[in-house]
Subunit: 401 residues, 2 copies
């Protein structure tokens, strides 16, 4: 008997019919002789509807109250899914994040899971129940409801799989696996059967929109076998694990991420600890920084440029404004009409010239590069958003994936 954690996103439970569809997949898994824990997001537009309700009243509501509000979304979806499973005749119980033992830090709106006390989930499994758990939410040490921020439900699922020692964690989504590029942009993109955590991590953080990087990081850390599958079609998905068997491909995929804003701090006084001051201040406000470039400026100053998600742009500018007393700089500029286009692949470490080939593809297509960032297994470029789809296509073609 295997213990399987299945995660269904908001679009998979968006209406009664889809909830019924998920219910029957869950019950099938159970009837195949498995113990099943299901992590669910809020239904389709629920979260957006709740945010709109909040904005009608207060566009600057505290994150603490926003979390209270949003947590209701998953409470609704877990109850409805449990009811659909009851209807089929299987034993089931739904649990909120706190009932399922999710303990987080006290950062409302973007909490991290500190630990999961699995007693309740385990005891419900022992009672032969299918256990439905609200994703995206937990409880801090002051007994306040918190939410996990973007990709929260994936993270909930993987963390729960790790805590329970589950045999695998299946992430159901509206695509049927991980592709070498977005099939809507690249018609000749291919589905990958397997991919390593590291590759997936780069793809996820680069906007492949299938799995959030937090969940992949956690899967890697606790060696949770992940499967990305389609909620709608019963076809094999993509397996994410430590080592893959597929033949070495130079690059594994091309991605683009339009949710990016670039901030540049120009003419910073060149003293030690500058970068620390900037980025620790941003971290204090829960702002995740992605690409960072530091360059020597003019007259003994330096420039620091970095990217954040668009949502964090305003807050980032405020934080920098407040740093004016402790930091000397000329000006702060920002742009949010950019896209990050990247190539990912474990193969590239041993193949010099990969980055050059990518830049050549962009040059051939007359696409200007604003910023470059590289890691062991990826190369990212920041370009104008208007060129993003074309960039993905020309790079995908250039590497002949």
């Amino acid at each position: 008997m295997a213990l399987i954690v299945q995660k269904f996103g908001g679009s998979s439970v968006a209406n009664a019919e889809r909830v019924r569809n998920v219910a029957s997949r869950v019950v099938e898994t159970m009837q195949a002789g498995n113990q099943v824990v299901v992590v669910v997001s809020a239904q389709g537009d629920t979260t957006d509807d709740l945010i709109e309700k909040a904005n009608e009243i207060n566009t600057n509501a505290s994150k603490r109250e926003m979390d209270m509000l949003l947590a209701a979304g998953e409470e609704i979806s877990i109850a409805l899914l449990a009811m659909a499973i009851e209807k089929i005749g299987a034993s089931v119980i739904s649990l909120t994040g706190w009932q399922a033992g999710f303990k987080t830090n006290a950062v409302p709106g973007n909490a991290r899971i500190d630990r999961i006390d699995t007693e309740r989930v385990q005891s419900e499994l022992d009672k032969k129940n299918i256990v439905i758990v609200a994703g995206f939410q937990g409880l801090d040490k002051y007994d306040n409801i918190t939410t996990l921020g973007r990709g929260g439900s994936d993270t909930s699922a993987v963390a729960l799989a790790a805590a329970l020692g589950a045999d695998r964690c299946e992430i159901y989504t509206d695509v049927d696996g991980v592709y070498t590029a977005d099939p809507r942009i690249c018609p000749n993109a291919k589905k990958l059967d397997e991919i390593t955590y590291d590759e997936m991590l780069e793809l996820a953080s680069l906007g492949a929109n299938v799995l959030h990087n937090r969940s992949v990081e956690m899967a890697k850390k606790y060696n949770v076998r992940l499967e990305v599958k389609s909620s709608f079609e019963k076809v094999p998905g993509t397996i994410v694990k430590e080592v893959t068997n597929v033949e070495k491909m130079l690059i594994r995929g091309v991605t683009r991420d339009n949710d990016v804003a670039r901030i540049a701090i120009i003419g910073l006084e060149d003293t030690p600890g500058i970068a620390f001051k900037v980025f620790s201040a941003l971290a204090k406000y829960g702002i995740n920084v992605d690409m960072i470039l530091q360059s020597v400026g003019r007259n003994g100053t330096k420039d620091i440029a970095f990217t954040v998600t668009k949502e964090c742009l305003q807050k980032t500018l405020e934080v920098l404004e407040n740093l004016k007393d402790t930091l000397t700089y000329e000006e702060v500029t920002h742009r949010d009409d950019l896209s990050k286009v990247s190539i990912v692949g474990a193969g590239m470490t041993n193949n010099p010239g990969v980055a050059a080939k990518m830049f050549e593809a962009l040059f051939d297509a007359d696409i200007n590069i604003h910023m470059i960032s590289t890691s062991e297994i990826k190369v990212s470029t920041l370009i104008n958003v208007a060129n993003a789809e074309k960039a993905v296509r020309v790079i995908h073609d250039k590497f002949n994936i």
Copy 2:
């Protein structure tokens, strides 16, 4: 500095504008130098919408999952009200039922409050916060979310006022007080300035639709001073307390309640313990019985007739069906086209002939009485629902209230 518990029902917070209106009343109360705890119901149609969502999926969902679903309704309203208060600039925190320490028994859908652990609410008050609490909900000893059933939010408010030792509990509703009859039926009905718990209890349980009897019972038990007020208009309401100063009125009000179903068990074997068997079985399923009549039948048998709310009719018939093994009876009949019309008033105990006068009014109007039940301060009659409004008017006129 007084500690005031204010309760706002679903219609009082039905949309953004009303939520803002409630927020400013709450902040005014605080700024007048009081500590304020606010108990809120789910917004307007939220509960109905959630029930509809459930019915699309499973019309026979477990009450446990129904409670999980419905509890989301108040989570939304407490968060929104807290945001509206934040907007005004006051310190505020919202708490779910379980966060506010509501511990209930394990009867989903109709739970009773066992106790309230007020530490959290008290500590938030000590931090100068306005505390917004989700009505209608609590947590059972197995850590399952429960709801309190009909009138639950009123009960939450009164119980919390009692547990906190509040100076008073204000119930805001869409009427501006307690009337001698429903003003929509009797245009010459009068608003009462004061009323005793016992009178209110009879009025509440008889369908006056202002306060639920559970909340009034609890107010009487813990001597909580209640005030029924309008959410929309700033006019004095009705005060509910132990002894009132107003001159003795023969009867205090006329009410009708259309949510009534009558069940009759005909030809019961006349052995001791029959009534116990019937009503303990119903109690086990959480079915509240209202009027009870036991009469001698034919051939050494007896008949028991009683009323329940319409919602409980089907369940009641099932329970009686299951009693067939332990109970001998000829048949069970039922009707749900009835209305309970009643007069209430502490004055009637010392005034013989009050009941007769009521029956005369009904006789004059050619209204047939199906069942009669009396207590120290009320007389109830069961009549055809089609006659209910007329009955209220003729009785109100007859007593010249």
